[in-house]
């Protein structure tokens, strides 16, 4: 089955790469929503089966160690999402600021 509709796809931003990025971001947002809905189903089933009430999720208070673990996880997660920003800074710090600086390496290893 074809997945792309016949017909030139319009682009809206000055740089068409931004259009592509928008589509990728929205696909990911969609999958987050799919996960959230699945979790919601799990919570409701758990309640129906009498394992615990959904309200217990709301009133759950994490212990100090759990809080610590979660903070660590969130910190790593955010760093992973913002990898590209950190790497931009790394590059500046290393002086890798122009395409020529890389091409110089290509030249250097070839000669």
């Amino acid at each position: 089955m074809a997945t792309k509709a016949k017909g030139k796809k319009p682009t809206f931003f000055a740089d068409p790469q931004v259009d592509k990025l928008m589509a990728i971001v929205m696909a990911l947002a969609g999958e987050v929503s799919v996960l959230r809905e699945r979790l919601d189903t799990v919570e409701r089933l758990v309640e129906t089966k009498g394992l615990f009430a959904r309200q217990e999720v709301e009133t759950y208070r994490a212990s100090e160690s759990v809080t610590e673990e979660r903070e660590q996880w969130r910190s790593q997660y955010i760093a992973r999402v913002l990898r590209v920003v950190r790497e931009e800074l790394d590059a500046v710090e290393r002086g890798e600021v122009t395409p020529e600086s890389y091409e110089a390496v290509v030249q250097a290893v070839s000669s």
Partner: protein, 385 residues
């Protein structure tokens, strides 16, 4: 009112994640129509229009002027990119689900041999160029493409996707267009009792079924160019216990005899044709109608008399959603069109009718791209022979 789609026997089943994916698209569309799209008007009034006036020493005169100046506005760009993405995600979310269960759907569509109505396919039918040039409204493969024997995929995809596209506002059976028009005819022409009815460009028969319910004594026929649509339409009608006669024909030139029908209807067919085809279709309606018979075509309102901005925002699909004839149709002189087709000018009908599902949740009260049926009214063009 929230209208969940009726899970009739032919409608594809969605897994939990498939359903959640479709739900996301529907929510995204509601958000865009309700919270993002209307902001384009402020962007136009505060930024784009003054910029146009500075550059051209005049006000924007038509939808083309507005489009040229709005295409550079970042807000409009973002909304457009999101709307186009939502459309692609919609087809993707439904098509993947249909593909998974296609063999079962094909099996179910074959039925048990007992039928109320009928299905006549014509493998020799030439699919018109206005349906092969681009895939209309971005449905991959459009109405006509078949990838396997006895394919029903296009129809199954369309049935589910229309519900997501219209954000549930076309009712549990997606039959708003037919239900609204049938109710209008019944009320407005109480002494009109059609015996034979034809629905042109019926797709999966969403809008055809209400005529069986409104006029149970009538024989109802429906034509459509796409075989996978028709196979599904027939199976769906049988599953619903509705007697309909489907055939694969181009509405421009059908094989019915002169003066065959009392009532000929179409629902969002005209904008998916061409300048040449629409003239043929109106002429064909005139040929097929009995004297005193009526043709009625449902669309969204014409641009004539609209503010340039309003026409522009309603015109989004022409350039961005593979609806190449949408704008041309909405600029057309329909009186001239009907008169050329043989109808008397004083017997031409152009009116707005209320949606049968006006109370549906998420109505915006607006006519704008990506918000199909948001206005809660439909435009009807027609004529009495």
């Amino acid at each position: 009112m929230i209208y969940e789609q009726t899970q009739h026997d032919m409608l594809p089943q969605a897994s939990h994640d498939e359903r959640a994916r479709q739900n996301f698209v529907q929510s995204l569309k509601v958000h865009l129509a309700t919270n993002v799209s209307p902001g384009n008007k402020a962007v136009y009034e505060k930024r784009a229009k003054p910029r146009f006036e500075r550059e051209h020493k005049r006000a924007p005169q038509d939808r083309h002027d507005v489009r040229r100046v709005m295409k550079d506005e970042p807000y409009y760009q973002t909304w457009s990119a999101l709307l186009r993405t939502s459309q692609e995600m919609m087809w993707d979310s439904v098509a993947a689900s249909v593909e998974r269960q296609l063999p079962d759907l094909i099996h179910r569509a074959k039925g048990n041999g007992k039928t109320l109505g009928s299905l006549t396919l014509d493998p020799q039918l030439v699919i018109p160029s206005y349906h092969t040039a681009v895939d209309i409204h971005c449905q991959p493969g459009a109405y006509h493409t078949e990838t396997t024997t006895d394919d029903v995929a296009a129809g199954a995809i369309y049935d589910r996707a229309v519900h997501v596209y219209a954000m549930g506002r076309m009712g549990p059976m997606n039959d708003d267009l037919g239900a609204s028009l049938a109710a209008y005819v019944k009320h407005q022409y109480a002494n009109f009792h059609p015996h034979k009815i034809l629905d042109m460009g019926c797709s999966v028969g969403h809008s055809t079924v209400p005529y069986v319910d409104t006029y149970p004594e009538a024989d109802v026929y429906a034509v459509e160019i796409g075989a996978p649509m028709l196979r599904y339409a027939h199976a769906r009608a049988e599953a619903l216990g509705k007697r309909l006669h489907f055939s694969q024909q181009n509405a421009e030139h059908t094989n019915f005899a002169d003066a065959s029908f009392d009532l000929i209807v179409s629902h969002i067919l005209l904008h998916e044709t061409s300048s040449a085809a629409i003239r043929n279709i109106v002429r064909e309606c005139h040929r097929l109608l009995k004297p005193g018979g009526m043709m009625l075509h449902v669309e969204v309102p014409q641009y004539h008399g609209m503010e340039p901005y309003d026409a522009f925002i309603l015109d989004w699909d022409t350039y961005n959603n593979n609806e190449p004839f949408w704008g041309t149709l909405h600029d057309m002189d329909l009186v001239e069109l009907a008169a050329n087709g043989g109808f008397a000018k004083e017997k031409i009908i152009q009116t707005l009718i209320p949606s049968a599902f006006r109370m549906a949740r998420s109505r915006t009260g607006l006519f704008q791209g990506g918000d199909f049926g948001g206005g809660g009214e439909w435009f009807v063009f027609g004529a009495v022979k």
